[in-house]
Symmetry: C2
DNA sequence: ACTCGACTTGAACTTCACCTGAGGTCCGGC
DNA sequence: GCCGGACCTCAGGTGAAGTTCAAGTCGAGT
């Protein structure tokens, strides 16, 4: 009753089973195996998976999420206090994100709105070096 | 004096030349060719490129940006008023984005903070159907 | 004992937004 | 006339975050 199958975890969290296996490969979650090699998850995994999904929606990469999860205690099931600590660290990130979008919005009102987008003094234009040297691959648009 | 090379556009906008060629492939920008087959851009292209880059920072995909640009008049150089119209539509998007992050932040304070993440009544958990059927490939985290 | 859905693995494929490199051409200046 | 830097095309690579498929195995219920 306490050991959940991958299908159950998927259903309760909304994550695809393929995603759960992928996250296990990355070390974000763990599972024990039955004699027949099937995964069985602890109940606490549901909370962990929910955290991962919520974090993704905030724009964090799995790498960053993994780093955050690594700060949880390994030997015992994380308590509400443990999660609260992560949540506090996170709040700052969300606030920062909001701040950046607000700035962009305000720049826009006074800048694109007036059609000045091509002037060298334009606040939007003067971010020319933005994302200048990130190498190949898609770049995280972490707004 | 009025026809810009790709290098000039790159320098003035901060976009890489490879990106400019790519955007041309996608139909986001256009160029005329010299007898020697080199691209020459109108001055107005700089504004267009600036718009693309600013839009990316807001989290829009090139697809969406293309759709927005398609509403600009083709026969004449877009006026400040044309750009202002795009900007207005955009502002709503930014406001919505801010609203969503704020909601997540507030849910977090009362939800992960209290450790309730596993309850079925949890606001974060009840988004289980989020991103449920988007097919393969990475999914845009448009926060 | 049998069935059938849920599970297993690994490899290959997908999307997005480009970047890199090879091999060649153009063109402004001396 | 020649040099070098800027340009051209096209093929293939890159990274994240998975999905899809094939071929097989498990395990709960009848």
């Amino acid at each position: 009753m306490s050991a959940l199958t991958i299908g159950e975890v998927a259903q309760r969290t909304g994550a695809a089973t393929s995603a759960l296996r992928y996250w296990e490969d990355l070390g974000l979650i763990t599972a024990v195996r039955t004699t027949g090699n099937q995964r069985r998850y602890e109940r606490a995994t549901i909370r962990r998976v929910s955290f991962i999904r919520a974090a993704q929606r905030v724009g964090l990469s799995l790498d960053e999420i993994g780093a955050a999860l690594a700060t949880l205690p390994e030997q015992r099931t994380p308590t509400a206090r443990d999660w609260a600590r992560l949540s506090r660290a996170w709040r700052a990130r969300l606030d920062e994100q909001i701040r950046r979008i607000e700035k962009l919005r305000d720049d826009l009102d006074g800048c694109i709105g007036c059609g000045c987008l091509s002037l060298t003094t334009c606040a939007l234009n003067n971010t020319a070096d933005w994302q200048a040297d990130l190498g190949p691959g898609p770049h995280k648009l972490d707004v």
